[in-house]
């Protein structure tokens, strides 16, 4: 229950800030390539750097640490490459990362609401069909 309340509160704060700042986690790279605009890219870098500093700091004050992480096997790494590329490619075509789509849907963009419907349906599709199929095909 703690996790549910914590994520709800964090979500509200982030949703608010995300709407005010137009933050998008794929838009930074896209905007920089298209128009040399580094506004969103700075947000992406700030997120990565802050998290990198915050993980050891929070662990030092008594929080649960992360890792150690093992070396990934080839199949898992290949799936990460395939999935990561797909997320980046299709999110760019869809005009925003999943976070941005949540924010757009909340400000009245109907196509983003349709995106979210597909996004939520996709979770069931993955666990009912895609994952079992992959498990059968993979070594």
């Amino acid at each position: 229950m703690t996790a549910a309340v914590a994520t709800l509160v964090a979500g509200v704060v982030l949703g608010y800030l995300g709407q005010r700042s137009r933050m998008c986690f794929v838009g930074g790279i896209r905007d920089f390539m298209l128009v040399r605009d580094g506004y969103l890219l700075r947000g992406l870098a700030a997120f990565g750097l802050t998290a990198w500093l915050a993980f050891p700091l929070v662990a030092a004050i008594g929080g649960a640490g992360v890792g150690p992480f093992g070396t990934p096997d080839v199949v898992t790494a290949a799936l990460a490459v395939l999935g990561g590329f797909g997320v980046g490619y299709v999110s760019t075509l869809a005009n925003g990362c999943p976070f941005r789509q949540h924010v757009l849907a909340a400000q009245g963009v109907v196509s983003s609401a349709a995106y979210l419907a597909g996004f939520f349906a996709g979770a069931v599709v993955f666990h009912l069909w895609a994952a079992p199929l992959l498990l059968r095909l993979l070594p």
Binding site: T2, A3, A4, V5, T7, G11, V12, V13, L14, G15, L17, G18, Q19, R20, S21, C24, F25, I29, M33, L34, R42, G43, A46, G48, A51, F55, V58, G63, A64, V66, G67, F69, P72, A80, V81, G83, G84, F85, G86, V87, G88, V90, T92, A94, N95, P98, H102, G108, S111, A113, A114, Y115, A117, F119, F120, A121, G122, A123, V124, A130
Partner: protein
Amino acid sequence: MATVVDSIAPVRSRRTGVRVTATVTGIVGALLAVIAGSLFDVRPPDAYGLCMACHARDLVDWTVNAAAGTRLTVAPASLVFPVLTPIGVLLGALLAARTSGEFRWQHPEHPLKTFLYGVVVMNCALLAGGCSIRLLLRTAAGETLGLIGFGALAAGVIVATQWLRWRAAR
């Protein structure tokens, strides 16, 4: 391309409302993600404090499991009660849009097309083990697999942007 231009326009809104930069959002987001994961039980798995795809999957699968008695996968963090990040983000963004006067109904693209985009992105994200946010979070936590996924994501964005530019130039 109107939607792309709209989304990359800098924050110089004439409307009222609190002004926040993407950098501030990035910093606050990362702090919340790490604190939620390390101090508020949004784990295991590691670096699970914030993810739009995995948390949405947990919420949807948990609800379907509860309603239909299925056994769809949820992360250990969401076994008893699901994480509520998607609902929180929707509520927070709705509040921001309403208070700043930026809420308005728009239909920039065909809903069927974006529905399919949503299905594909969710499947790819679950394959990679996170959406763009969590792949970066895992990278920051020092996980090699996160770095591999985030590198592939960056490559995907670059290829798609080149393709969009090529299509617009034709």
